[in-house]
Amino acid sequence: MKFKRRMKVGSAIGSSTMSDIVFLLLVFFMATTIFKDDTGLRIRFPQAHPQVMSELGKENLIVAVWIKQMNPGDSQSEVIARIGDYDLPVDQVAVQLKGLADKFWREQNKHLDVIVLNADTRVPMSAMVGLFADLRYEELYSIQFNAQELSTGI
């Protein structure tokens, strides 16, 4: 008597649908991706000598503030700031940062270490000194003026 042969079970995982999945994902991301419009943040950085600049540690909790004029170069033009995705007048920056610092402390038990100021080179000093005074009033003392490295030597 002859026994029936058992059916062999293949050990390979079918990968023929892989290309379908990859193309599906590719088409999905191509169709849905939008690029953030950063035109409002386009600023000209000041330059400084590399050896006077310091780097922030990865463990520092920082908030970046972008500052520019509506019409760069026009001394009468309004100075605006951006924190995250929100645009606001520069005189409200310190209050908003204080709110953020309190929130970090309340929710994560962390201190806001450094405020990074990414300001356009053409912003008048009257606005910047006003901002420094506001930051002091809100007891936010540690700041960093972001700059690009000067390519020339001393």
């Binding site: 000041p46 330059q47 006077v52 920082i62 990074v116 912003v123 420094f132 002091r136 003026f145």
Partner: protein
């Protein structure tokens, strides 16, 4: 007898897919760089209130400069007050000079180096930084030597920009923990396991007050701070020069 033709299958080979994926992964792992925030760190003075002591800067340690914009990207400094008998006193007072003027910069560096703080003052700051880094309360260590022994630390001196510029003219002091320390050097305490733990720069006691014209741009402030830091001045004040006549 029937001859069977080889059948064309509908699949394409994907055995090299993982090779391609790993190749791309390694390529991006190797070539990706993260944008690092670099800039000039600045500590604003404490808010004035009843608890804050008013700091009076001695005339011998005070240099007051007014910064004016002189065209695009060009700035001039007017020295309002300079320490008596210093290099900027007679030659430059009351006269506009370009911010990148070598005589002005050399004068600032000389003033700063003449007022280099003692190594004890730097060591005291270093001890505070160490206590913060270790997360212990202030006053845990009686002095820096005992802290170095207790924590098994190595004392290192890193030469600064001032020593590079001034060479042998940079004022140096011999310290029992660190050896020869020049003005502008950084004192570092390192550990065999964690590397650098705390550091402090031997600063100058010279305080430079920068008074900006209100319409001077922000680039002027960065240029002025850059000049001061390069010449050994880390203690600065920033304010606005009020226009005469009241109306801006």
């Amino acid at each position: 007898m029937r001859n069977e033709r080889p059948r064309a299958t509908g699949e394409f080979s994907d055995s090299s897919m993982s090779d391609i994926a790993f190749l791309l992964l390694i390529f991006f792992l190797v070539t990706t760089t993260f944008d690092v925030q670099k800039g000039i760190s600045y500590q604003l003075p404490k808010k004035p209130d009843e608890q804050t002591e008013e700091v009076v800067i001695d005339e011998t340690n005070r240099l007051v400069m007014t910064i004016k914009q002189w065209g695009l990207g060009s700035y001039v400094a007017l020295i309002d007050q300079a320490p008596p008998d210093g290099p900027l006193q007679r030659a430059r007072a009351g006269e506009d000079v370009a911010l990148d003027d070598p005589i002005l910069q050399a004068g600032i560096m000389t003033l700063a180096s003449q007022r280099a703080e003692t190594v004890e003052a730097t060591s005291s700051r270093l001890l505070n930084n160490l206590e913060v880094a270790k997360g212990v309360r202030s006053g845990t260590y009686s002095n820096l030597s005992s802290a170095i022994q207790a924590e098994n630390l190595t004392a290192i001196v890193r030469s600064g920009l001032i020593r590079e510029v001034m060479g042998g003219d940079a004022p140096t002091v011999i310290d029992p923990n660190f050896g020869e320390v020049a003005f502008g050097d950084t004192l570092v305490l390192a550990d065999a396991r964690q590397g650098d733990i705390a550091s402090a720069v031997r600063e100058s006691e010279l305080v430079v007050i920068l008074k900006f014209f209100p319409d001077c741009d922000y680039d002027g402030m960065i240029s002025a701070l850059d000049v001061l830091r390069r010449n050994g001045v880390s203690r600065t004040g920033i304010t606005i020069q009020e226009r005469l006549g009241g109306v801006q």
